[in-house]
Every structure is written in C-alpha cells, then in structure tokens.
C-alpha cells in the first residue's frame, strides 16, 4: 500500500474514532462485514492488500461469534483469531480494541458483563498467540450496538460477537 493510501485509510479510522463509537468502523466500516452503512472502501484497494485494514477486516475476518449466553471460543473463532494474531505481529503499528457484544435477549447490565466476557476471551486468545497484551484494550457494548436489527436467531447469532477494531499508535 502506498503511503498516501495508508494515510487516507488512517484518516478514516481517526474520523470514526472521533465519533466515540469504534464499532462503527468494525460494523459498517471500510466496505466491511455487515450491517449499517459506513465508509465505502472501494478504491483503497484494500481487501487484496495483505497489509491493509480492509484485508484484516474482510479477508481475515475482524470478528468472532458466540453461542447464546456463552463466551467460549468455537474452533472457527480460534481460527479467525489466529489469523488476526499473525497479521497483528506483522503489522505492529496498530493498537486494537476488542469489542464484546450481546444480542438483545438479556437484561442490560448482564449483557454488559457478558460482552466483557466475550471481549476478554478474544483478548486472552490473541495474547496466547503472541500479541502483546499492552496493545489490546477491551470494551463491552452489551446489547447497545447490534449490527443486525431483526429479532430472530439469524440476527442474534451475528450480534453475539467480539470485534477486533484497529487503531493507530501501538508504538511497538
């Protein structure tokens, strides 16, 4: 990726971070994996550039999913996180926030705690795969930020997630 292209992408990341809602990037983000509209990354050439954020989000997958009321990582989730961990070791200039989310089937406070469990499960796995712990913060959104808005298991299964959101400034 050219320096200019990377700069454009990083500006986009910063702009979204300024909205105080990291999930917007992960959710709608750079042509991303689902949900509401956001920034269209077409033209950044991202998803095919292994060093790009778009590649991280779309090709590797920036999120893992959980069973109802669970925070255990599935085999598929572990595979995704292993891919993330490898990428993060190559691209060490990124810090990350792991967001934990719950579906709407649960009370607000419990879902906050459950989202934190999920974020922590992903964080711990990334650390176990060699990502420095001081690059990672976690945040729980509970049921406050679904990407899918229907009230069926199909939507719920995509809302029960931990999303790895990249940002600048790992400094390592």
């Amino acid at each position: 990726m050219s320096y200019a292209m990377k700069a454009v992408l990083l500006v986009a990341v910063l702009g979204l971070a300024a909205c105080n809602n990291p999930d917007r990037f992960g959710a709608g983000g750079a042509g991303g994996a689902g949900g509401a509209g956001g920034i269209n990354s077409t033209g950044l050439g991202g998803a095919n550039d292994p060093q790009s954020v778009a590649y991280f989000q779309q090709t590797l997958g920036d999120r893992v999913f959980f069973a109802n009321d669970q925070s255990t990582l599935s085999d598929e989730a572990r595979q995704t996180l292993m891919g993330q961990a490898q990428w993060l070791q190559t691209n060490s200039n990124y810090a990350l926030i792991v967001e934990g989310h719950a579906d709407e089937q649960g009370t607000r406070q419990y879902n906050l705690a459950l989202g934190a469990r999920r974020a922590s499960a992903a964080q711990n796995f990334l650390v176990s795969q060699g990502v420095a712990g001081n690059r990672i913060r976690t945040v729980s959104y509970g049921k406050e930020r679904p990407v899918e808005v229907c009230s069926t298991e199909d939507c719920y299964s995509r809302n029960r997630r931990a999303v790895t959101v990249l940002s600048l400034g790992a400094g390592s």
Partner: protein, 445 residues
C-alpha cells in the same frame, strides 16, 4: 443544556382553619376507604370540579390543577372520575356548603374541591376532601404555596393527600423519573439522560446524545443521579448533581468497566459492578472519600445490586449457579443466599421502599416478565409478560413498579410502562418518545 431543575423547590404546607369548618378529622378507618391489599375490582367514583379561581390571575390554573388531580387518581386504577358533564352542583365558592345530595345522586363517593389564588410569583392552592355518603369532610383542608411554574407539583400534592387519606398508603404522584430517552435506528441508538415528572410532564434532558448512557439511578433524596456513560469511550460510572447538571466519574479504575451503580440508603455509599479481565464483581465506593470495598470475589457475573431500605442487605443477580439468579447478602459482606427458585433466569432485583418485596426481571421460555417476590423468594408473582420487559423501579409507596418494554424486530422501540403490584393497571407512561431504564425518585419534599 437544561432548564432549571424543580428539585429543591420548597412548598409551604399550611393547615387551613377556615371559619365555619369545625368538621372533625375523619379517622382513616372511616367509611371512605380503599383497601389496596384486598384487590380492588371496582374503582371508587370521585369528582373533582374545576378549582375556584379566587382572582383573575388564578384563572389559568383552576381547571388544569383539577385535571392533573383527576388524572393522578384515575391513573392508579383505584379511582374513576365522574366527568363534569354529569355534575349537578357547581362549586363556585371554596367555603360554600357541599350539596351532598347532588353528589350522592351521581354516585360520587369522594369529592375534591379546591381554590387557587395567584399573585406575582406565588400561587396558593387549597383543597378539601369530602366523603359524600358519610356526609362529612374527610381530614382537614390543606393549603400549598409555590411558584406558578410549580402548579403541577401542587396538583400532585393534592392528589397524594387524597390518595393517602382514602387508601391509608403513602402517595407517589409528586415524584420524578430519570430515564434514558432514545432515538435513532436500533443499530445506532442515540441515548440521552432525561428527567420528567412521574406522569411524563416536564421532560428535561440532562445529557446530549454524543455518548451512550445507561441505567440512571436516583439518590435517596433525588438530588443526584448515578449512571453509566461511554463518554470516555469505555463504560464508566458517573455521578451527576441534578441542580447543576455537573457530573464526575466515580471509582474510575484504568482498564476496567464500571456499571450498574446504586446508592445505599445513606446517600453516600454506592454499590456497583466492576469488570476486570472479563469478570464482573460487586464493589462499594464511598462517594466522599473514594474508598473502594470489594463485596464479591467469584469468577461468575455479579451485577445489578440494590440495597434493602434499611441498608442492612444487598440484593443482586449472579450466574454462579450457571444461570442468572437472585441472591441476598449482608451489606457488610458474607455468604450470599439464593432466593430465586422458579424456572428461568432472574435479574435486575430491586428492593421495595417498604422493605417487603423484591421486584425483578424474569426470562422464561422466550418471554420476559416483571415480577415481585417476598424478600426470602417466596410468593413469586409475575405481573407482566412480553417480548422484552426489564428493569423495574419502585414507586415511592411500594405499590407500583415502572419498567422498560421493548418491541421486537427492526422497528423495535422501547417505552416505559407501569403496573400495580397486584398485576392490574398495566399502562404506558408518557415520555415524549422512546425511553428505557426508568428510575423513580422518592416522594419530593
């Protein structure tokens, strides 16, 4: 950002010793009496003619005050208003004798008469309550003095007095509710803290919508609000002074999430959940010294704590058994005792201000319920059922709970409802748009 809060308003409360009113105070065991605990089927018919405007400036309040009183009483489900169109007598003078026969003829069992006078920044509201079938005044007349802006509060105080005399219970109309005002699509909901009168009037916003805010809770005197905000990018507890609308972070520990705060009855200690490394436990913090105390130490989720009204115990939810259940522990610590025993998941316990019941959210077979149980978990009673009901809060008199109800699907919205602890009188609470997470204040002074 907000208008001046009506908290802190002092209403003068004066007895009227009107000439010609030597009527003795009627004992509360008199004939005009609603026994709430026995289950009222037929609401008690009452009349509230427009209050008498004793001068020109009072004219704008005379009818409105009567309407608020009528709405308060009818809204309980315990009273039924006889509309003015059915009235035979007119009340043109506050001190004129009551035409009992005329009110008896339309089957009014209770009559509330009143008068308003206004001058400058002061209005005076006075009322009397009559037991029509006994043919006598019930209790003494009362007079309230306040600013013109506080006319609704004075109406609520009249209604509280009427309710209290007839039911023998404390009132709950002169109270406020802090809640989360919601707007925008479900996947990007904007949330703002707001307060309003218990009946939805006088909505005031306390925050803008730039950060998610959750689950505000009043202090025991209603002067402060605890809530959770994402304003730092991470969920943290804040403590807001209602009058100044100034907030500060409370118990902020780097790298942790703090949430689910609730005041102790002493108004100084706060119990809350602190999450670290994915695990949530209960802590307390002294709001003055900042001293932290750890209440639980378990790998399970411990959250949604609330104090008993005497401050001796804490009720909370935990999934230490594998699913969310309700536990009670001493406020000084100790082994929690599980009190919920039915099928399903139990959460968000809140202790009644009377101390006798705990209201909760229950999930069972894909439905959500608001329910109440005794403090030992016995006599569980479900009051509601819907796609998503959660987060009950008690009326100041412990007879009614308010909660959030959210509808299903992409267009799903949250709104506030209240229900009597008998399970009757389920009704929506006006809130100027979508709303969630109500917390009821104590009765205002």
């Amino acid at each position: 950002m907000t208008q001046r809060s009506p908290f802190g308003l002092i209403l003068a409360l004066l007895m009227i010793f009107g000439a010609g009113f030597a009527a003795p105070t009627v004992a509360q065991t008199g004939p005009l009496r609603i026994e709430i605990t026995e289950g009222v089927i037929e609401p008690l018919p009452f009349a509230v003619p427009n209050f008498v405007a004793e001068n020109g400036a009072a004219g704008e309040f005379a009818a409105d005050i009567a309407r608020v009183i009528a709405s308060d009483l009818s809204g309980t489900g315990l009273f039924r208003e006889i509309p003015a169109s059915a009235h035979i007598s007119r009340v043109d003078s506050f001190d004129a004798p009551v035409a009992y026969a005329d009110w008896k003829a339309i089957n009014a069992q209770a009559l509330v008469t009143g008068a308003v006078s206004a001058s400058g920044d002061r209005i005076v509201v006075k009322f009397r309550l009559f037991d029509i079938f006994s043919g006598q005044q019930m209790g003494e007349g009362l007079q309230f003095v306040g600013t013109p802006q506080s006319w609704r509060r004075m109406a609520h105080k009249v209604a509280d007095a009427v309710y209290s005399r007839i039911t023998g219970e404390g009132g709950y109309f002169d109270s406020r509710v802090v809640f989360v005002s919601e707007s925008g699509p479900k996947n990007e909901r904007a949330k703002r803290l707001a307060v309003m009168d218990y009946d939805g009037a006088n909505v005031q916003f306390l925050t803008d919508s730039s950060s998610i805010v959750l689950a505000p809770r009043f202090s025991p005197t209603g002067d402060r609000i605890l809530y959770t905000s994402y304003q730092s990018g991470f969920p943290k507890i804040y403590l807001m002074d209602v009058a100044s609308v100034q907030a500060r972070a409370l118990g902020d520990q780097p790298g942790t999430m703090t949430f689910a705060p609730r005041f102790a009855p002493n108004g100084r200690t706060v119990v809350f959940s602190l999450e670290q490394g994915g695990n949530s436990d209960l802590y307390t913090i002294d709001t003055e010294s900042g001293a932290l105390g750890r209440m639980t130490n378990a790998p399970s989720i411990e959250t949604a704590p609330d104090y008993s009204p005497d401050g001796s115990s804490i009720v909370f939810e935990s999934d230490r058994s594998g699913t969310q259940q309700i536990y009670v522990m001493g406020a000084g610590g100790g082994e929690p005792r599980r009190i919920s025993n039915g099928p399903g998941r139990y959460s968000t316990p809140v202790w009644s201000p009377r101390g006798d019941l705990i209201a909760f959210t229950k999930q069972h077979q894909g439905r959500f319920h608001i329910g109440v149980m005794r403090t030992d978990g016995s006599e569980e009673r479900l009051l509601t059922a819907s796609f998503l009901d959660e987060g009950p809060t008690w009326a100041p008199n412990g007879r009614v709970v308010m909660f959030s109800r959210e509808t299903a699907g992409a267009a799903g919205q949250s709104s506030l409802y209240s229900v009597d602890i008998s399970g009757r009188n389920l009704r929506p609470v006006a809130s100027q748009g979508a709303a969630s997470d109500p917390s009821w204040s104590p009765l205002l002074p």
